[in-house]
């Protein structure tokens, strides 16, 4: 047996430290967190690997067979005898594939809009907290107004305005980006508030003072010194906001103002499925809805757990 290289040793030491940390300990002792994390991982993998594991390319019209429409879940199609685990929709589209591809769009919009609102919220919060004075008052007043208006209303307004500004022929291509911006713009205020609060605490500490004495610019102090110390709470808000963003996306798509039907998300699938509720084809609606609820619920549970795990008061 060869002696382990120093790199491998350092790596395993780091791994051990991560395994032994408080957060990991609390994770190992929370069955809810483990189940929620597993659910999220499975759903994420399903979405990421959709082109590899989906039985059919759900949005390539050539792969659909209209004769297989409305096949019940787990039963062979009356015409071709093929079995679809979760059934098919009116056009013979395999629901499992549709959900895998659909959650891809939902998750993409969710993650991207959270990143977008973190970018805006954290930089505005840093500026408000560090610079203080008029900048602070101005930014926080806007954040107050934004927080008192419901996110879905702001997202709808941004969406409508963007539609008015973009030429109709580009609407379909731009839809996802517009959606990301609309949801991102409706959620930045909570980050700004939290980051401002922690920045106010950090900016009077010695390390910031010494950086200032050394003549570093305000921008460098904010970005290099304060920022790394205020990211903890941001992570918690980001987790919970991811669930909110995914729900917001599906709500907008359900309202018919989200992604175009050529690139459906879970919300669009639910909107389509609702039409078949009365005729008894429940699975077209049920499985996308189940996927959405599982996703949002497990992300929420993970966020709750993370908030408690990172809160030293509760330990």
């Amino acid at each position: 047996m060869r002696a382990p290289t120093p790199q491998a040793e350092r790596f395993s030491a780091r791994l051990w430290r991560a395994w032994d940390s408080d957060v990991a300990w609390s994770f190992r002792h929370s069955p809810i967190a483990i189940v929620a994390a597993l659910t999220v991982v499975v759903l994420l993998l399903g979405a990421a690997l959709a082109p590899l594991i989906a039985p059919q390319n759900a949005f390539d019209a050539a792969s659909l067979n209209l004769m297989e429409g409305f096949t019940r879940p787990g039963e062979p199609s009356a015409v071709t005898g093929r079995v679809f685990l979760l059934g098919t929709d009116d056009q013979g589209r395999d629901m499992l594939s549709a959900i895998l591809y659909g959650s891809r769009v939902s998750l993409l919009v969710g993650f991207a809009s959270v990143v977008f609102s973190i970018a805006i919220g954290v930089s505005l919060g840093l500026m408000a907290g560090y610079l203080g004075g008029r900048t602070d008052a101005f930014i926080m007043r806007i954040a107050d107004i934004q927080l008192s208006f419901p996110a879905i209303l702001i997202a709808l307004l941004v969406f409508g305005v963007a539609r008015g500004l973009i030429k109709p022929q580009y609407h379909e291509q731009a839809a996802i980006i517009v959606l990301i911006i609309a949801i991102g713009l409706s959620n930045w205020a909570s980050y700004a508030r939290t980051v401002r609060g922690s920045t106010l605490v950090e900016k009077n500490k010695d390390y910031v003072m010494s950086a200032r004495v050394m003549g570093r610019s305000a921008l460098a102090i904010m970005g290099r010194h304060v920022l790394p110390n205020v990211t903890g709470p941001v992570l918690v808000i980001a987790t919970i906001n991811l669930a909110l963003a995914i729900i917001a996306e599906s709500t907008l798509s359900f309202l018919g103002v989200g992604v175009p039907p050529t690139q459906p998300s879970l919300g669009t699938l639910i909107r389509v499925g609702q039409q078949f509720l009365f005729s008894g084809e429940w699975w077209i609606l049920f499985y996308p809805a189940l996927d959405l609820v599982l996703l949002a619920l497990s992300i929420n549970l993970l966020g709750d757990w993370l908030r408690d795990a990172l809160n030293p008061k509760l330990r």
Partner: protein, 327 residues
């Protein structure tokens, strides 16, 4: 107290002006108002004439002033898509939304407070725990899925309730109500439950947390020592002191109720303002969007003002002082 009310009023006016500026910028800069109002065959002269009549050639502050004046008079312009005055469209739909929002808030308040008190008094009861877990799921469940679930249960499977619309409505002057007919009342049940559910879970959790806090205080212990019946302690002493945060949250939530009404109205094809707004967004009908924005802002401002005033009614300590209540 008067100084405090005046300050709240001034703040309310500022918020309305800020929202009006936003609405005006939307109207003025998103798309071309003239192109949206005239037909394809309108001549250049006709277009110029309309631009002049709309005042689009005036300086920006004057245009904004006229816009605010028109808004204050209730003149919201013409809908691009429907070619009717926005004021008429709004007036038709306000009763449906207000009726829905008020009834669901009432439902949420009554059941939320009752369940919250119950959950606080019987902390370890099975029913209390069930209600708490259910409320956690309720937070993760999108509003539209709750609505669809109710439709499936009560309209598709059981066939007890209609799945869409308001049913028969009665006219009372310009107001319409569904409360006076049987189909109207039946049509209200599911939308009210859907819209009220989110609020209910929120109020319930809040009342429970505040009650648990209040039940630990000295005055409650003292009341117990005096031999005052438990029921009277819970409701007369503890609950009364939890009402301030509950009223604040319920009041501030009313804005979200109007917003969640957008989703509920779409699910149940309820002919209210929210459904109108969604259509306006789909078709970029800017005057309708702007008017809806102004309406929601007005509701917010009025509710916030009333919440501020309610503090004085609920908390005797605030009367006679000019200090602003802490939120």
């Amino acid at each position: 107290m008067i100084a405090y009310i005046l300050r709240s009023l001034a703040q309310a006016v500022m918020v309305m002006l800020a929202v009006a500026l936003l609405a005006f910028s939307m109207f003025r800069f998103v798309g071309d108002p003239v192109a949206n109002m005239v037909g394809q065959e309108a001549s250049v002269a006709e277009r110029a004439e309309l631009a002049e009549r709309l005042g689009l050639n005036d300086p920006f502050p004057i245009q904004f002033f006229h816009f605010v004046r028109d808004m204050a008079r209730g003149e919201f312009g013409m809908s691009y898509r429907q070619g009717r005055p926005v004021r008429d469209l709004l007036a038709e739909r306000v009763p449906a939304t207000v009726e829905l929002a008020l009834l669901s808030s009432l439902f949420a308040l009554v059941f939320g407070i009752a369940l919250g008190v119950y959950a606080a008094i019987n902390r370890r009861g099975i029913l209390a725990n069930a209600a708490m877990s259910l409320s956690l799921i309720g937070v993760s469940l999108p509003t539209f899925l709750i609505g669809i679930g109710l439709i499936y249960l009560f309209a598709v499977e059981l066939r007890w309730l209609p799945s869409f619309g308001r049913g028969e409505v009665t006219r009372l002057g310009w107001w319409t109500t569904g409360l006076l007919t049987e189909t109207g009342r039946k049509s209200l049940i599911m939308p009210v439950l859907t819209l009220g559910f989110f609020q209910l879970t929120l109020i319930m959790r809040l009342v429970r947390a505040e009650m648990l806090e209040a039940l630990r205080t000295d005055y409650v212990k003292f009341a117990r020592a005096r031999g005052i019946p438990e029921r009277s302690i819970s409701f007369r002493h503890a609950l009364r002191n939890t009402m301030i945060p509950v009223v604040t949250i319920a009041g501030l939530q009313f804005g979200s109720v109007i917003a969640f009404a957008i989703v509920t109205e779409t699910v149940f094809q309820w002919p209210g303002l929210g459904a109108l707004f969604v259509q306006a967004v789909q078709f970029v009908d800017i005057p309708v969007m702007a008017a809806y924005l102004m309406f929601v802002a007005l509701v917010f401002v009025v509710v916030n003002l009333s919440v501020d005033l309610l503090y004085f009614a609920l908390d005797p300590r605030l009367r006679g002082t000019t200090a602003a209540p802490a939120r």
